[in-house]
């Protein structure tokens, strides 16, 4: 199809033709086009449907503020809903479809909503759909949900990569229009580190859309020359296609660089987009301004757009939106559109100027004090009805209308810290107010400097001032000459005519009537108006409509516009892809892996791994022929108890604690005593939080007079270390204690079972007989001369040791243990078998150390020494934590050995009803004990210590199952502990 609306000029490369499709139809355009400009060039004005009434819509802008022309870009896994056609850079093979319509864009069944609009006023849904109650979920809501929404999301994984990064600068310049360019130039020439970011794919801002001259050249040419100079400066970073999305605390800005969106598919290895965290010492908002409409009946017809957009399409893209064009304005800027279009040979049939007086445009029908009262042409503008100053109305055939109600400075980012913008009577617009983000200033149109000259001058001034605060002196160069005409605006918000609807927020279909209804119902504060009518809640966040809406509300309440105020500006400035915010942290890379020293060996054995925090640990090691995990785990347990088993326990936290006060320090952080521990010995330690609840536990060894090695649970390794630093720096700053984590420095294996010593004797160089290395001994040893550590501690209840070597030797050590262990039928066991043995032994672990339990709950109350001050000692004595009928750790066995238990089941007395009043507590951990040949569990039972031997029910209401159980001591296995001393 020919580009029938393509006219002369523009910054497009006519030497290349790009073909693309929209709703399956093929069109052509040129490099430099957006999807919108290319469609308009092809005579396509209808590009979307509105949210509520499904009204036919075309673009009203040529920028990121676009509320109407939203399309689904690309297809398959890359389908991208709600993409603004006005900023989507055209590429060859681009494939776009319209959205929120069925069956087609031209004929949309749900346009019935438009016919029924009188029922669908603001907030109507709050007043109905209430009867019968059950119908909301079943009937009303599903219909509403199906009708709502805009584009649709694919269910396929996004195939593109996203990246993140950090940048640092003295001055971040947001926006590369005249103000931004002058600012960057001044700062760049002064040698400051500058970042110049612009959301467009071409630097220059409005200069690309205007015919005006700067320094004797066209604006675009001047912009190119400045960019060329900046590009040559090593201290300046130019960031094209980069939107600054928000101002965060202390000069940190978020920016999204669209690295590959202008390509069909990202280049190999390249991200689609990059999220930059920019650390700036100073920042300058030079983001320009956004033109706003004047509301009149049916002002949403495709072909009606901002006057400035009409001009952008003509000047930058060489496109006229229609053959016969009119302009409706209340300010000087609208006239420029008429001039430029005439210059381009477009038939401008009328300029409807709301201002009663002032000079007339030569050679154009320029109607003063006139207004547009209606527009016709459902799928595309056909005609407008004009009411002249004398009241006479006439209908004029046009295919495009440019509307200018004035310009709103883009104050958003300057208000991201919730400072209020201030009203300018001269501009009839809000400009940045006081109390914005520290270090941020504004220049150019964003600051209300509306003429090109003012913007150029303002940008330079602002940069010089910002750098001066940093002690960098930038000098003022002569500002290139440029137009400096006043805006000359007469307020005009909406045309008060007949009964029809005049749109303020086109996407959400908020009309003047809705504002009036909100007022009638007393939703008059701006926030109430916004939330009740949904004004400004669309994907454009009210960039074009908000000020219009609150001005109209001000008119109704009799308040001034500044009294009425604005709603809050929130990040992001324009919507950001979720993938970009997530970067590379997705899939398996969501969080880093931590691998144990035996991981490589275990992988070779076909081990099953389990996530324990960031760690991957061996859960069990299936032997050939084992079909069910239980077979493997039972074997591992039995073999360990029968002879010897080996388990990688490296993940337990290890903290090296040294200093002359190390012992005294441990007495403070543990509720039991360590200063009395003999060198070469270890002891089980219980650590409380200051609120008296159990924080962590582990075995700590005294390796020397002033040297301890603490072990923590895997889960709390980091938080315990943090806590110890807190105690040593904040609570007892004079203690001579030094800390460092050695968790990763040592590969540590548990060797447990009757033959544990025999196995180790084949490996270690020293005598580790019971007399030389008794229960709870700890010390440095060697393995073939290699430094190593040995601890005689047991989690399994067996004669057991933990042996550690520098991590690089861990792989060799497990292989050595397995090799030498063959003589004893040694097994390597995983976390499941570990869990079975610790439950058999009645040791608490994660499920019992739940942060809600006291030492008393765990049956360890006696460990809390009252003879010394330790963290948590005092508050552990509160009455609520010492009730005789409080929870106590118990063991649980099914009365019928064949019956199964479920962790999380609750205790009920024999005939008690399943109601909370009868809740006795719950099963914390459950395992199958191959020794007792049945399920066993630990549990917290109210007054459990007084209920040993009692029969109760373990009830799992989720599965509607229950098991009769016997409450027993938590020490199922070798309660006297003979084995571990063996």
């Amino acid at each position: 199809m020919s580009q029938k609306n393509r006219i002369s000029g523009g910054q497009i490369d006519r030497s290349k033709v790009l073909t693309f499709t929209f709703d399956g139809k093929t069109y052509s355009g040129h490099p430099g086009d957006t999807l919108a400009s290319a469609l308009l060039a092809n005579g396509v004005r209808l590009m979307g449907r509105s949210f509520k009434y499904h009204r036919p819509r075309g673009p009203i802008s040529a920028g990121s503020e676009e509320p109407n022309a939203l399309v689904q870009l690309r297809s398959g896994a890359r389908q991208e809903p709600n993409t603004r056609a006005t900023v989507a850079e055209l590429f060859d093979g681009l494939d776009a479809t319209s959205q929120n319509r069925w069956p087609s864009l031209a004929f949309d069944a749900l346009a019935i909503n438009d016919r029924l609009n009188t029922f669908f006023t603001a907030g109507f849904y709050y007043k109905t759909f209430m009867w019968p109650a059950s119908f909301w979920e079943k009937v009303y809501e599903p219909i509403i949900r199906r009708a709502a929404g805009l584009g649709s999301l694919t269910r396929e994984e996004d195939p593109d990569e996203y990246d993140k990064g950090f940048l640092h600068c003295d001055l971040l310049v947001i926006g590369a229009g005249p103000a931004g360019l002058m600012a960057a130039l001044a700062a760049g020439r002064a040698g400051a580190r500058v970042i110049l970011a612009d959301e467009d794919f071409r630097f220059g801002g409005r200069l690309n859309a205007e015919t005006l001259s700067v320094g004797g050249r066209t604006g675009a040419e001047w912009a190119d020359s400045v960019i060329a100079e900046l590009a040559a400066l090593p201290n300046v970073r130019l960031m094209l296609r980069t939107t600054v999305i928000g101002a965060f605390d202390h000069g940190i800005y978020g920016a999204v660089e669209r690295v590959s969106d202008h390509l069909a598919v990202p280049l190999e290895g390249k991200p689609r987009q990059t999220l930059w965290r920019i650390y700036s010492k100073r920042a300058l908002l030079a983001g320009g301004a956004t033109e706003r409409p004047i509301a009149f009946e049916n002002n949403d017809r495709p072909g009606i757009m901002m006057a400035g957009a009409l001009r952008t399409y003509a000047n930058r893209f060489g496109v006229t939106v229609g053959e016969r064009v009119a302009v409706f304005t209340n300010n000087e800027d609208g006239l420029q559109t008429a001039r430029d279009l005439v210059e381009k040979g477009v038939d401008v049939v009328a300029v409807i100027d709301a201002r009663p007086d002032g000079p007339l445009l030569p050679g154009i029908r320029h109607l003063k004090g006139a207004e547009v009262v209606d527009a016709a042409g459902r799928l595309g503008l056909k005609s407008i009805t004009i009411r002249q100053a004398n009241g006479r109305t006439e209908t004029v055939e046009v295919s495009a209308l440019g509307v200018s109600g004035g310009w709103n400075p883009n104050v958003n980012i300057s208000s991201h810290h919730r400072s209020k913008p201030v009203w300018s009577e001269a501009l009839q617009a809000f400009v940045p107010g006081e109390g914005g983000p520290q270090g941020l200033s504004a220049a150019g149109a964003a600051a209300g400097q509306m003429s090109t000259h003012a913007a150029l001058e303002g940008g330079q001034k602002a940069a010089i001032a910002a750098l001066a605060e940093l002690g960098i002196s930038a000098k003022a160069d002569t500002v290139p000459e440029a137009e400096d005409r006043p805006l000359s605006i007469t307020p005009k918000w909406y045309v008060n005519a007949g009964k029809g609807r005049a749109w303020i927020d086109p996407q959400n279909d908020v009309t003047v009537k809705d504002i009036k209804l909100a007022h009638k119902e007393n939703f008059t504060s701006v926030e109430h108006m916004k939330r009740y009518t949904t004004l400004g809640m669309a994907t454009d966040q009210g960039k074009t409509g908000n000020v219009l809406g609150l001005a109209i509300m001000a008119g109704l309440t009799g308040q001034t516009i500044p009294e009425t105020g604005t709603t809050i500006y929130r990040p992001p400035y324009t919507p950001v892809a979720m993938g970009t915010l997530a970067g590379r942290s997705r899939g398996k890379e969501f969080k880093p892996f931590r691998l144990t020293p035996s991981h490589k060996w275990a992988e070779e054995q076909g081990a099953v791994f389990v996530e324990v925090g960031m760690w991957l640990r061996t859960q069990w090691l299936p032997k050939p022929g084992e079909k069910h995990w239980r077979e493997s785990v039972d074997r591992e347990v039995l073999a360990t108890r029968k002879s010897v088993g080996i388990c990688d326990v490296t993940t337990l936290g290890k903290i090296d604690i040294q200093g002359t006060d190390a012992g005294a320090f441990l007495d403070k952080v543990y509720c039991n005593t360590f200063s009395t521990l003999a060198v070469g010995r270890c002891r089980y330690g219980l650590m409380l939080r200051e609120d008296g609840m159990v924080f962590d536990d582990g075995t700590t060894a005294r390796m020397g007079e002033n040297e301890y090695v603490m072990t923590t649970t895997t889960a709390n390794a980091v938080t315990v270390f943090r806590h110890l630093e807190y105690c040593r720096q904040v609570l007892w700053p004079d203690m001579d204690v030094q800390l460092i984590s050695t968790t990763e420095a040592w590969a540590q294996f548990s060797v447990a079972g009757p033959n544990a010593r025999k196995l180790l004797e084949k490996i270690v160089d020293q005598d580790i007989s019971d007399s030389a290395f008794p229960y709870m001994a700890a010390g440095n040893i060697t393995i073939g001369g290699l430094r190593a550590r040995l601890f005689r501690i047991s989690f399994s209840g067996e004669l057991a040791y933990e042996i550690a070597v520098p991590t690089r030797y861990g792989d060799a050590l497990i292989r050595r243990l397995v090799e030498e262990g063959k003589a004893f039928d040694a097994v390597v066991y995983g976390t499941e078998a570990l869990g079975v043995m610790r439950v058999e032994k009645g040791h608490v672990a994660g499920n019992e150390l739940n942060g809600q339990s006291t030492a008393l709950n765990m049956g360890l109350g006696k460990m809390v020494s009252k003879m010394k001050d330790s963290i948590g000692m005092v508050l552990s004595q509160r009455e609520g934590m010492n009730q005789p009928d409080g929870y106590r750790l118990v063991g649980v066995k099914p009365v019928d050995p064949a019956a199964t238990l479920t962790a999380g089941s609750h205790f009920l007395e024999k005939d008690a009803k399943p109601v909370i009043e009868n809740d006795g507590g719950w099963l914390t951990s459950k395992v199958y004990s191959p020794h007792l040949g049945c399920d066993i569990a630990l549990g917290y039972l109210k007054a459990g210590d007084q209920k040993i031997g009692r029969r109760m029910r373990a009830v799992n209401l989720l599965a509607k199952t229950e098991t009769e159980v016997e409450i027993v001591s938590p020490h199922f296995f070798d309660p006297e502990g003979e084995r571990l001393r063996g």
């Binding site: 949900r145 805009l150 009740y532 899939g587 969501f590 209401l957």
Partner: protein
């Protein structure tokens, strides 16, 4: 005026001339029996139930800004009663039951939508904990189901089942959980209270409290002194500020919680989902926006805005769980100020000042608690004794060691 489908039709056909203001804007009177400080969800609900359920009158709600301008209008709209501990679960279940009849009760469609909430399970320990919790819920008369991996897959096949860092192993589901149109809750209670004669006084900030001989006489405000028989404070987010006027230090810190909404999308997620291996929860509004959130920023703040790290953290959780949302766009972020209490649970109690009552410390639970919070606070104000479901929410539980610590984090508000 009573709302109904018929009324909407009649008004539509007669040019919407008949609609009346949803609430009056009365000038404050010199004295009320009850002055409720805080025109948010909890304050408005309190006034509504005081008048409707406890037949009290001469009630005023005073609000420093506009009605519903606090957290009731800035949250992720989730309702549920899937709590673990005895102190909490009966209360939140009471609240859920009130939600279920709320719209018919106050004649306003707040779009209470029980589309179900699932908490995903990623480890065996998590399954054990959720089994304990699910049983506690049922024992308290709530509904709960434990789903296995395949049941979750059947609901949301496009979740990350195949390439997850932390595999989905199942979920705890509460079918009666869901979402509510948050603003409508404030407006519904406001309208209901107004119709019952409650004075709703906006732009009226409390600047002091008049207390003599240990009894509260009223509140000093930016619109003058307002006398009161009883003063009920329900200003979560600003609790410490207001109660300081009564010389109180609270077991509460103010923290910013951000929430997020995407651009409108055709139906994608039917129910509510929380990710158990990252800081992320999500649902989809009737307008089509994905509404999601994560953890608080973590530092004391009254700024009602957050920072980038949490936004990224939440997005990472979202992408890890739902790899297909990469091209959905985040439209808006906002920040609400939460009362983070020392055990993660709220306080509804008398104070040491006669006639001064406090409701706060809601942490993440404030929105879903709105009806029960209002009801229980009204009960306490009218009867001077706690409602049966709120009797654990006392100030002195910290002194006595009776904390209600769902997360087991201890006295670290930013971890609850």
């Amino acid at each position: 005026m009573r709302y109904s489908g018929l009324r909407v039709i009649v008004e539509a056909l007669t040019g919407h001339r008949g609609w009346k203001p949803v609430w009056r804007d009365p000038a404050p009177q010199a004295h009320y029996d009850y002055v409720i400080v805080g025109g948010g969800g909890h304050g408005l609900a309190t006034a509504y139930y005081l008048a409707r359920e406890f037949s009290q009158s001469r009630i005023a709600v005073i609000e420093k800004g506009y009605l519903g301008g606090g957290n009731v209008g800035r949250n992720t709209t989730i309702i549920r009663s899937n709590y673990l501990l005895d102190g909490n679960e009966p209360f939140y279940e009471f609240s859920l039951k009130l939600w279920e009849g709320l719209e018919q009760d106050f004649n306003y469609n707040a779009m209470v939508s029980q589309r179900g909430i699932i908490n995903l399970i990623h480890t065996d320990a998590q399954r054990d904990a959720f089994t304990r919790r699910g049983n506690a819920m049922i024992l308290n008369g709530a509904d709960a189901e434990l789903l296995d991996r395949e049941q979750v897959r059947a609901m949301y096949p496009w979740l990350n089942f195949d390439n997850a860092r932390f595999p989905i192993k199942g979920a705890l589901m509460q079918r009666r959980g869901g979402t509510v149109r948050h603003d409508a809750v404030a407006w519904g209670y406001a309208r209901g209270a107004d119709l019952l004669g409650v004075d709703l006084i906006q732009n009226c900030e409390v600047t002091g409290m008049r207390i003599e001989n240990g009894k509260v006489l009223g509140v000093e405000t930016t619109r003058g002194f307002i006398g009161a028989g009883k003063v009920g404070v329900a200003v979560a987010g600003s609790s410490s500020k207001v109660m300081a006027h009564a010389g109180m230090r609270l077991p509460i810190e103010s923290h910013v919680l951000q929430a997020f909404v995407s651009e409108g999308l055709k139906p994608f997620i039917d129910g509510v989902m929380t990710f158990g291996a990252g800081h992320f929860y999500v649902s989809q509004s009737d307008k089509g926006g994905l509404v999601f959130g994560g953890d608080i920023d973590g530092y004391n703040s009254y700024a009602q805005r957050g920072n980038l790290p949490v936004i990224e953290d939440v997005a990472e959780g979202g992408m890890a769980l739902m790899p297909s949302i990469g091209r959905a766009r985040l439209l808006r972020t906002w920040g609400g100020i939460m009362d983070m209490s020392m055990d993660g649970s709220p306080i509804i109690d008398k104070t040491h000042v006669d006639g001064l009552y406090f409701n706060g410390g809601w942490c993440y639970g404030g929105f879903k608690a709105t009806p029960a919070s209002g009801w229980c606070f009204a009960h306490l104000l009218a009867r001077d004794e706690p409602h049966v479901t709120a009797k654990a929410y006392r100030f002195d539980r910290f002194l006595k060691g009776l904390m209600i610590d769902e997360k087991g984090q201890g006295a670290t508000p930013n971890l609850h």
